[in-house]
């Protein structure tokens, strides 16, 4: 579905991605793990067309994404859930969701969009309860649900999730985790970026380890969990466990 070859991208003057190649197959959850500044978010932004001057190849079902505008990329079927729950706080929950269908609004009838909103409400019943509330009054977890719901409004083939557990209480993070699992069950393909490597590896089918803009390991998540280098660097053992490793 998504194929990336030799992707290079700059974050200001810094080369954030140095020849990254990866792929995501239909109905797969693939995760990208790595430390702060490894280039994870830059990679998602490059896919979404938010990084000017990205070099290399990015194709979605054979269609090249390089040089396309973010709007075009959304209409080709990629939707990104940005890091840090970027919602429109003064707008209501419903309005936020409607904005997610902005691309489709002109093309499709309002009724279809309402049907889509109903589907999102089924997925996240709490959003239905709060439909008329300003989005800014939602809790952290609810806001995260709203961003995911908003991204789903464009009916993406591929969902890019940037740090969905960030800043959430563990119990809420778990809830989000379950939602991502449900999404996969319903056939959504996901590329997930997470600093919480343990969570990402327990959720995804395959993973890539990014280090200073380069992929240094890849494989099935069961294998990455076995890799002692991954354990030492990303699975943050307690001090005792660390010494034992």
């Amino acid at each position: 579905m998504l194929t990336i070859r030799n992707l290079e991208a700059y974050y200001g003057a810094i080369q954030a991605l140095k020849g990254v190649s990866l792929h995501v197959l239909p109905e797969e959850i693939v995760c990208l793990i790595g430390a702060n500044g490894a280039g994870k978010s830059t990679l998602l932004h490059a896919i979404s067309g938010l990084v000017p001057l990205a070099k290399g190849e990015i194709t979605l079902d054979g269609v090249s994404l390089i040089g396309r505008s973010p709007e075009e990329i959304v209409s080709l079927g990629i939707s990104q859930v940005p890091e840090g729950r970027q919602i429109f706080t003064p707008l209501t929950v419903l309005e936020n969701l409607e904005l997610g269908a902005y691309q489709r609004f002109r093309r499709e009838r309002r009724r279809q969009i309402s049907r889509e909103i109903e589907r999102i409400f089924q997925l996240f019943p709490v959003l239905k309860e709060r439909r008329s509330q300003p989005a800014g009054t939602l809790s952290g977890g609810e806001q995260q649900m709203l961003v995911i719901g908003r991204a789903l409004m464009s009916k993406p083939k591929l969902l890019l999730l940037d740090e969905p557990s960030m800043g959430l209480a563990p119990i809420v993070a778990k809830e989000i985790l379950q939602i991502i699992r449900d999404l996969r069950e319903s056939g959504t393909t996901i590329l997930l970026v997470e600093q919480n490597a343990k969570m990402a590896l327990s959720l995804a089918d395959r993973g890539y380890v990014l280090e200073t803009g380069k992929i240094i390991l890849e494989g099935e998540t069961s294998e990455l969990l076995q890799n002692r280098e991954v354990k030492r660097a990303y699975l943050g053992k307690g001090r005792k466990g660390f010494l034992e490793e």
């Binding site: 070859r5 494989g219 076995q226 280098e229």
Partner: protein
């Protein structure tokens, strides 16, 4: 049957994507963790991220057995020793062996690729697999064992030697799959004759043979004498061990596990990469090895690659059966022997000049190794006792260095035939047959 249909029958385009991803991460890890590769890359001004395709591999220098020897024992490992769960060794060109290590994931991948060649060779989980390869530092026994066990087959770790017992086990335990070297399979057939056991009394169905070159006529002979379907498989310890490639039921070339290894054919003299179909030396690059990544390792095995789709459905390229080598390595009873190993043993022992001749022959089904050693002037040929103890000393040292026994024959000075002042080091009479 196909063990891993998804990977073994992957469309070439997807396979190529997986290869480039894994190649890049292997290069990044080798550069980061192995001083030898860091040095090679820096000396040749190679930046790992500039390798953008499999074809770009041609810019990277080869890795040789000598590099492994120079970094003996653990210098080429890409992970700390505490991450290594298994050590094996293979014969080096001189006295020093080559040490190879495996991480937990490497062991899993090894079992996976062996399960593939076993399935391709016709083994299923219903089979009783007798593994008559040496279990020890040599990768053969344990490598094939893990693969068979992973498949869920019933494994009999018979190990090598004691042929009468092997046959007794085959008969009584109802072995259905035999795994050993092809020459040992023929030898077993001979011993069966001596024991008056016929193939009809055995339950053998399939045989996986490897570790040494063998011919189509030998295949027919084994199949006829043991009443089984015989396939060839290929591997080498430096890369992983058995499992690198294996024949399918078409018996027309060995499928290389291309999601784990990249195969190239080069001109052994110039190092130039040759196109598919041309004969040359096989060069292998590992794609998933964590403990000991090998980049463009020269195997010294002569073969050619066939990219044509196979009727079995597998998409991985096939290599022709290996018949020859670019170096002087001999394979005797499945064990790799270098003339230089013999030479270094002889120079160590006082009283021998380095004039020697290695004679390999096949008596019946078994290889025999004889080493003629020219002694210096004034040697004590007239003292039987001293002579015998000297001969025994050489035999003992030779066996511990080579890993197989050799018959030593001492000859008078200047009796070995010399061409242009040099002794012909190796006479392989097996080839003359």
């Amino acid at each position: 049957m196909i063990w891993n249909k998804q990977m073994e029958c992957l469309p070439r385009k997807q396979l190529e994507q997986i290869q480039i991803e894994r190649l890049q991460s292997t290069l990044n890890r080798a550069y980061k963790n192995v001083p030898f590769y860091q040095q090679i890359f820096e000396q040749n001004r190679i930046i790992p991220e500039k390798i953008r395709s499999v074809a770009d591999l041609a810019h990277i220098p080869f890795t040789t057995k000598e590099n492994l020897r120079d970094n003996y024992p653990y210098g080429m490992f890409a992970v700390p020793l505490r991450d290594i769960v298994r050590i094996h060794a293979s014969s080096g060109t001189t006295g020093m062996p080559i040490v190879v290590g495996y991480s937990a994931n490497d062991m899993r991948h090894w079992a996976e690729v062996v399960a593939r060649i076993m399935t391709a060779g016709g083994v299923s989980k219903e089979d009783i697999v007798q593994i008559a390869f040496n279990y020890g530092l040599f990768t053969g026994g344990f490598g094939l064992h893990h693969g068979a066990e992973t498949m869920g087959a019933t494994v009999i770790p018979a190990s090598s030697g004691n042929s009468r017992r092997q046959i007794m086990i085959m008969k009584d335990y109802r072995t259905t799959a035999l795994v050993c070297t092809p020459s040992y399979a023929l030898y077993l057939a001979e011993v069966m004759g001596e024991m008056e056991i016929t193939k009809g009394q055995l339950a053998l169905r399939v045989g996986l043979f490897g570790g040494e070159p063998w011919s189509e006529s030998m295949r027919e002979e084994i199949e006829r004498k043991l009443g089984l379907s015989a396939t060839d498989n290929y591997g080498l310890s430096e890369i992983m061990g058995p499992g690198v490639a294996g024949e399918c039921q078409e018996k027309d070339g060995l499928h290389i596990a291309e999601d784990h290894f990249i195969a190239e054919i080069i001109d052994p003299d110039t190092g130039q990469v040759l196109p598919y179909g041309e004969q040359g030396e096989l060069v292998l690059t590992t794609l998933t090895k964590e403990a000991l990544p090998m980049i463009r390792y020269r195997t010294h095995d002569i073969t050619r690659l066939n990219p044509e789709p196979c009727r079995c459905g597998r998409t991985h390229v096939r290599m022709e059966r290996v018949r020859d080598r670019t170096d002087d390595m001999l394979i005797v009873r499945g064990v790799n022997v270098y003339p230089s190993q013999v030479e270094s043993v002889l120079t160590e022992i006082e009283g021998t000049s380095p004039h020697y001749q290695i004679i390999v022959d096949r008596k019946g089904a078994l290889d025999e190794l004889e080493i003629l050693v020219e002694v210096k002037e004034g040697f004590f040929f007239d003292e039987m006792k001293r002579l015998r103890s000297f001969k025994e000393k050489v035999e003992e040292k030779m066996e511990s260095a080579l890993g197989i026994s050799a018959r030593i024959k001492l000859v008078e000075p200047k009796t070995l035939e010399r061409t242009q002042g040099k002794t012909q080091r190796v006479v392989d009479r097996r080839k003359q047959r």
